[in-house]
Amino acid sequence: MLDNTATSSTNPKMSARDVKVFYGDKQAIKGVSIDIDMDNVVAFIGPSGCGKSTFLRTLNRMNDTIPIARVEGDITLDGENIYSSKMDVVQLRARVGMVFQKPNPFPKSIYDNVAYGARIHGLAPNKAELDQIVENSLVRAGLWNEVKDRLSDSGTALSGGQQQRLCIARAIAVDPEVILMDEPCSALDPIATAKIEELIHELRGRYAIVIVTHNMQQAARVSQKTAFFHLGTMVEYGDTSDIFTNPREERTRDYITGRYG
């Protein structure tokens, strides 16, 4: 494989080596290696069906919930293999949070949505601390001012953009180290999208962030590193500015310039 598939940062938060994913007999990911560090937002781009979501879901073992899915290769979080039997998947998912394509708040109050993870993982010994966690998370997700007077309203009553920020608040309430976002803006209007992008800027540095997007402008706006996927392989991975101005691979160039996808 080309050496550009794995960038060698000195101390990666997560790193994947030769990861392969199968759905039954069908191979969806054909040997991907990548390092993800704390300082950069990483964008996954590529035509739909190329395996971006599939690969993203290997990073917090969400593929475990699909009975026919099978993962090979090594993925580490702080040097620990997340697929080893010693890894507790509940702990892993608390450390590697996820935001989905369609906002999926629980049919509970705004407060209970954000408190959900903290309660499950027993993070708050008392009500005051839980309140604090909820407030901090909503503040960080840029939603506090909009909802502070109606925390007991149902989360599903919010607008789409607010719901998505609620889901982000819910994810950061358990204080994760990595946040995975799978096309978090594809169901939102431009204004809501801009808010999420702004939020990603603010969250950078505190969390390692991976965002899947099929919108190349978005990748250019929010990320420092970009990985281009095609047909289950990672074709190219590098600084976002390089990928967009001076890609090394023919296929990347074709995709960026809109030749296909």
Binding site: V90, Q91, M98, F100, N104, P105, F106, I120
Partner: protein
């Protein structure tokens, strides 16, 4: 000629009309008419309809009118002038004469009837003849009319479609009209019942001890509260205590834990359980469960345990309802978007935490709707309670005691030879109406909840 033969003949004529009309329309196409609107077969159907439908409608009407005309003709005859003037006697003789004219072996008590019978036979024969002739005439007239309308630009297809639509509408109206008729008769008889027993006494009285005795225009012993209680105790409490947890748990297992293979086996088996005739559950309850419960009760020191018990009926009814609750809950849980489940799992929640905290709350409205439908089913259930609950109208919360239900008492009140006008018979209608109203309300509320819930996730 019998009416069956006439019907066959008319049908035959319809077929012939179909063939000829079709051929005639087909010729237009062969002759190359510029624009033929409908296919030949539509012309065929159109003409056949005209030949058959008016004739058959006429025969239907005639079959009700002809006997009256026959009687009228007989009464006009000189023989009838000698009949007694007393209306009752007269009617008796006339009806005997009529039966005799149809079946010579019938036993008669009035000799006058024997003389009148041939008159009846004659009159009936004449009117049958007239009817048959008129029917054939209508058949031919209809066919002829349709024939004159067959032209290349005639929209036979539209006409046929409209007739089909009308026929379907009529079919659906029949079901609705039947329901309305049943409800109307329930209401009518209930009003008569409430002339004998005050609605207040019926709905809130604690003594159920029905008898046919009417004193001062009032009947006593029709306080239905013990029946309502028995119905609720068995159908809404004991049965649901069994059906809700078991149904819900089996739905959760099937939707969340079972592999595709297991689901493939278990779902049909559950559905078979729903298809077992209730009478089978009934004797299972009466012959197996009730005696076992009684010995159990005696063993743990309950001396007044009856051989028919609320518990036996309720348990078996609960088992009967499990598949119903399970499949409603199954649908509701399956309707919760998978993204909700993924969201919870991605937070690090375990499977059972996800089920308890996200899936069930999200599916709850649908489950509640399903449970209400199940309750409405349970309280209308008859066979199991008739066989296993007993007849004693006890107002007790002891599950080992015998209680009775609304449906059981309806059966009880209507079996045996009771007078149709007696308070006991009428009480059955009042009970039926009450049951109908309660189940109707339950169904409306339940369906409303389920519908709202479905909309929430669309």
């Amino acid at each position: 000629m019998t009416s069956t033969a006439i019907l066959f003949l008319i049908a035959g004529l319809g077929l012939i009309t179909w063939v000829f009309a079709r051929a005639r329309a087909g010729r237009f196409i062969q002759q190359g008419a510029a624009s033929v609107h409908s296919l030949p077969s539509y012309h065929g159907w159109y003409a056949a309809m005209w030949a058959v439908v008016p004739a058959i409608l006429f025969m239907l009407v005639w079959s009700t009118v002809a006997p009256a005309l026959g009687s009228y003709a007989v009464l006009e005859s000189p023989l009838a002038a000698q009949l007694p003037t007393d209306a009752f006697e007269r009617a008796a003789i006339l009806s005997e004469a009529r039966s005799l004219s149809r079946n010579p072996d019938v036993k008669v008590f009035n000799d006058a009837a024997r003389e009148l019978a041939p008159l009846y036979a004659d009159a009936d024969r004449n009117y049958a003849m007239i009817g048959a002739l008129a029917a054939f005439l209508l058949c031919f007239a209809g066919a002829a009319y349709a024939f004159t309308r067959i032209r290349p630009d005639f929209r036979a297809r539209t006409q046929v479609e409209r007739t089909v639509m009308l026929a379907l509408l009529l079919a659906s109206l029949i079901a609705i009209l039947a329901t309305l008729g049943i409800v109307a008769s329930l209401i009518f008889e209930t009003v008569r019942f409430f002339n004998l027993v005050s609605p207040f006494e019926f709905l809130f009285g604690l003594q159920w001890n029905p008898s046919d005795k009417v004193v001062d225009g009032q009947a006593t012993g029709f306080g239905a509260v013990p029946l309502f209680w028995g119905t609720v105790f068995i159908g809404a409490i004991i049965a649901m205590l069994v059906a809700i947890p078991l149904g819900l748990m089996s739905a959760i297992y099937l939707t969340q834990y079972a592999s595709a293979n297991v689901r493939k086996w278990m779902k049909p088996i559950l559905e078979i359980l729903a298809g077992v005739p209730t009478v089978v559950y009934g004797y299972f309850a009466a012959l197996t469960v009730a005696p076992a419960l009684r010995s159990f009760a005696v063993a743990i020191g309950i001396t007044d345990a009856s051989s028919e018990s609320a518990l036996a009926a309720g348990l078996v009814m609960g088992v009967m309802i499990i598949p119903f609750v399970s499949s409603m809950a199954d649908d509701s849980i399956a309707a919760v978007p998978g993204s909700m489940r993924d969201g919870s799992l991605a937070m690090g929640a375990t499977k059972s935490e996800t089920i308890k905290q996200v899936l069930i709350p999200a599916a709850l409205p649908g489950v509640v709707g399903g449970v209400l439908l199940a309750v409405s089913r349970a309280i209308g259930e008859t066979m199991i309670v008739v066989m296993a609950a007993g007849l004693a109208a006890n107002l007790t919360a002891n599950p080992f005691a015998s209680v009775t239900t609304v449906t059981t008492q309806i059966v009880q009140l209507l079996t045996g030879d009771t007078d149709f006008n007696s308070p006991m018979t009428l009480a059955a209608f009042a009970l039926g109406l009450t049951l109908f109203i309660v189940t109707l309300l339950l169904n409306i509320v339940a369906l409303q909840i389920v519908k709202k819930y479905r909309e929430a996730y669309d």
